[in-house]
Subunit: 192 residues, 2 copies
DNA sequence: GATTCGATCCTAGCATTGCTAGACAATCGA
DNA sequence: TCGATTGTCTAGCAATGCTAGGATCGAATC
């Protein structure tokens, strides 16, 4: 019994190591650099070990995505909690969101761009993803305005932020005017 | 002289064939299926021929992106030209944009998501890309509202559309409510 | 019309990728 | 101490982007 428990613990610990290392590697050199060989070398095990924890690279990305979603939700909640009034809350949310995307581009990609084999906008969507959306809706729902469903409003506002985040990082938008763009979004979309 | 011209013509024709085939393959089976081997086989030449036209796969994606950007600009202009009044023009623009993204996902990715080695938001941005942005600004600029630069407004509106397009296609947003989301964006962002 | 020479193209190969089969070793229960 | 199970690694597969080198074809010259 106790032996088995120790093994389980060690296995779980190694799994966390894999996810943490994958994330670290992705944040340092991008997801392209996260190859199974490099990852295996960094955790000081052979490649096949990875496949005893995850079905493949996709699932590893998915694991990073779940971890990242939880952090993003926390970051958003922390930012909104410190803001006064609906308008300021939304502005704080937007800035926190874009800040997270800029500071953790690899994690952001894992959540919102790459294929991590996760279900989205579905009943069996993993809890951290649902909760991240919930974190957005908590502040956005109150500025949806009359006759607009909070869910729909949140989706739309979120999509706008996502567009800003990805286009900016891909070099499609000049990074200088991020702040006025955010102001514009908040001023026009949010009904206070 | 004439011999050289014929050769140049044939070369240009083969280059068009490469781009068209790459695009076709990408639209049929996604960009992952566009391998240099498959592409070479389809155009009935060997792999190295591709590298005599393009530096690598990246540049082929870039060529598809430029072609696609021109088409998208035309689609947007056609849609806005057929609409009456600023408000309807913006709505038509939004629908045309999302329609293009949905109908040509591979081309859309080449333009806005993948790395085609192109310069964006820069002085030496290729003409088709600049023109596509110009096509957006023609209709969006007139609803920017007081004190808001048309360019800034266009960027922000465009980013919102981009977010809707990509999140929907990646399965992050349920596709059902696209229309109300567009309505919301147009109603709130555009000043008529 | 034969010959040389340059452009054009293809065969073959490299290093890297994700993933897996099968051999090997360590560990646990008896 | 032995047998079996569990765990891990070595080695390898097919596919990827890309390139070096030789073969071949055609065009200009004598």
């Amino acid at each position: 019994m106790s032996v088995q428990e120790r093994k389980d613990r060690e296995r779980a610990s190694r799994e966390r190591l894999i996810v943490a290392t994958a994330r670290e590697l992705a944040e340092q050199q991008g997801w392209d650099a996260v190859t199974t060989r490099r990852l295996a070398e960094r955790i000081e095990y052979s490649q096949p070990v990875l496949y005893s924890h995850f079905r493949g690279k996709r699932e590893i990305i998915g694991a990073v995505a779940l971890q990242g979603a939880a952090e993003m939700a926390a970051a958003v909640r922390a930012a909104t909690a410190a803001a006064d009034g609906p308008r300021e809350r939304v502005a704080a949310l937007a800035r926190a969101y874009l800040d997270f995307a800029e500071r953790h581009p690899a994690v952001y990609d894992a959540i919102f761009q790459l294929d991590g084999g996760l279900a989205y906008a579905h009943e069996d969507t993993p809890e951290p993803l649902k909760d991240a959306f919930a974190a957005l809706m908590e502040s956005l729902g109150e500025v949806a305005g009359d006759g607009v469903e909070p869910g729909l409003f949140t989706e739309t506002f979120w999509a706008s932020l996502h567009g800003l985040a990805t286009l900016t990082r891909a070099g499609r938008l000049p990074p200088e005017n991020t702040e006025p763009r955010v102001e514009l979004l908040v001023d026009r979309l949010a009904v206070v």
